[in-house]
Amino acid sequence: MFARRALSSCRTHRSMHRTTPSSRSLATATDANAPSTSTGVPPLAPSKPKKEAPKHTLKAAVILNRSPIISRTPTPFEKSYYAYQSRIQRALHNPFPNEFYFKPGSLLEGKFAAEERDREREAFGRTSSTDDDAAINASKDVLEVLGEEEVVKLMPRVHEADLKGDVKSLDRNGERNLYLLLRAKDAAGKDVWRFPQGGVQAEELLHDAAQRDLHAECGAHIDTWVVSRNPIGVYQPSPSEETYLFFYKAHILAGQVRPDGKNIHDFAWLTKEEIETRVGTEYWTGVKDMLADF
């Protein structure tokens, strides 16, 4: 099949270019079968072919993504919808087989009945079945016997980094997709925000170049995975020059960016809307469709 062919062709290339820094040392378990390719520190600046200038210049860029780490906060409409459906479920569900799960008259059964009464009251308000005095007293006795339970305290959904406005933290904005943006000097010597990028060496595969360039700009203290061997988009910085920037999607698995401070001055983990405010209009038009809206 095609996928397998693609894989095998890639393997042959890998054996040719042993210097590709594709090892993940920080988080993922190493594959014993795969040949170790971490032979040294990756070269910082990609060397361009020194022969006659090629017609087209290819460059590889990486959209490094931190996926959402907590579930999305439902909208008020969603909340009331789910509450309504839960009430329907509670009203129409099959009878619960108490005797199958609890020994009749056991403490646990009493506890379950008390909890169930609370849930019923929360769903439908006070009714005659939930406000039976004898049953309430009985459940109080049960709870006294069982003693106080540990109260599970949930972690806050808003992280400290959100309160401080720290855009370098990987814990910020846990519900959203974040993308890595670097601040560097462009060809004209102007300070711009852009995605990690770099050149492609002679006879190097684009996705290998993407991985190498990412490590060259972000340091070795980061574990990443380039999702696909296919680029997800292409951008031509200026229509007059034949330079093409191919974008690859990657995920961060562990670690943090440590720019060298020479070429890269700053970095930030940003959502799609925040990226729009930092990058140039033309660049934004080129990359906006590669980023997830949420």
């Binding site: 099949m1 095609f2 996928a3 397998r4 079968n33 996926s67 959402p68 579930s71 999305r72 439902p74 969603e78 919808y81 789910y82 459906q85 839960s86 329907i88 479920q89 129409l92 099959n94 009878p95 199958f100 799960y101 997709n177 999702v227 696909s228 296919n230 997800i232 999607k249 995920h251 997830a292 949420f294």
Partner: protein, 297 residues
């Protein structure tokens, strides 16, 4: 005339405002078996909560899988070679003839359609299936398995007012085989999981069951040399089995293991929309995204 209409309207508004809620004269009909009230309308239960695993699929996996399975095809595909005329209601020759495809059906040899954002590989349903040999001699041996499957899946017939929910089904023998199986004898149970329940089961499997299995290497994959253009490789279904010991680790069973006469193993089939040569590989990529481990033998 318009004035008359306006007067009528105001009158109607006044009466509507004055109307009280309709008194319920007749109590709801009750189900004879269960004694539960039957509502006047067909109430259909929809999602009662957010699904974390489904969100993960739509936020992250779907994009990644599209990029991973995309194959660039700069030119349009050639039309398949027609070996002989196929069924065509307009053609008087083929109209009323039995006209099978020469060489049999070759659906498993077809190349999958080009990947677009519309047809990214997606989980459609999960089927749990368990055959109990002891049920051949005594059909009541199946009851424990039915109860366990009900607890694990939470499905029952027509649950939530949905006609498509079949609950736990009893499988009967299709044909007689020697002195082992007879036709029509209950031999196993199965249950189909779809939608939120399916994702819930997947989360339970990945978070509670698989990590607690002793020395579990992962789902063992067939050798890389096995052909991908067979029905097995091209139907977009990945299956594996769980041993009887694994059933204890489902939290729904764990709470009262003693209530079950035995522990039951099961087959789990992940059924997706992927089709064509090599569909199995993209399904494995999908399942691996849900954190199901795969291993080479």
């Amino acid at each position: 005339m318009s004035a008359a209409v306006a007067v009528q309207r105001t009158a109607a508004q006044v009466t509507r405002r004055a109307a009280r809620p309709i008194r319920i004269r007749k109590p709801l009909r009750r189900n004879e078996k269960t004694g539960l009230p039957i509502p006047h309308v067909n109430v259909i239960l929809r999602d009662t909560q957010q699904s974390r695993v489904a969100d993960h699929y739509y936020n992250t996996l779907q994009d990644d899988l599209m990029y991973m399975t995309y194959v660039h095809e700069p030119h349009a595909r050639k039309a398949p070679r027609v070996i002989r005329s196929l069924f065509d209601p307009e053609d008087p020759y083929t109209m009323n003839r039995f006209n099978p495809i020469a060489g049999g059906s070759r659906w498993a040899r077809e190349v999958p359609p080009p990947t677009t954002s519309e047809n990214v590989v997606k989980l459609e349903r999960i089927q749990l299936h368990s055959m109990q040999k002891s049920a051949v001699t005594n059909r009541s041996n199946l009851l424990g398995a039915i109860m366990a499957f009900r607890a694990i899946s939470g499905e029952s017939i027509g649950a939530g007012g949905r006609r498509t929910t079949d609950g736990v089904q009893v499988i009967r023998g299709k044909k007689s085989i020697g002195n082992w199986l007879r036709e029509g004898v209950p031999i196993g149970v199965k249950v189909d999981l779809k939608g939120p329940k399916m994702y819930e089961f997947l989360a339970t499997l990945v978070d509670f069951v698989l990590p607690r299995l002793k020395e579990y290497p992962g789902v063992v994959m067939p050798s890389p040399k096995s052909p991908l253009n067979t029905p097995h490789g091209a139907s977009g279904v990945v299956s594996f089995g769980l041993p009887p010991e694994a059933m204890v680790y489902f939290p729904q069973i764990e709470i009262n293991v003693d209530a079950y006469p035995a522990l039951y193993g099961m087959h789990i089939h992940f059924i997706t929309n992927a089709q064509g040569v090599g569909a199995q590989n993209s399904v494995r990529a999908l399942l691996s995204g849900f954190q199901i481990p795969f291993a080479r033998r």
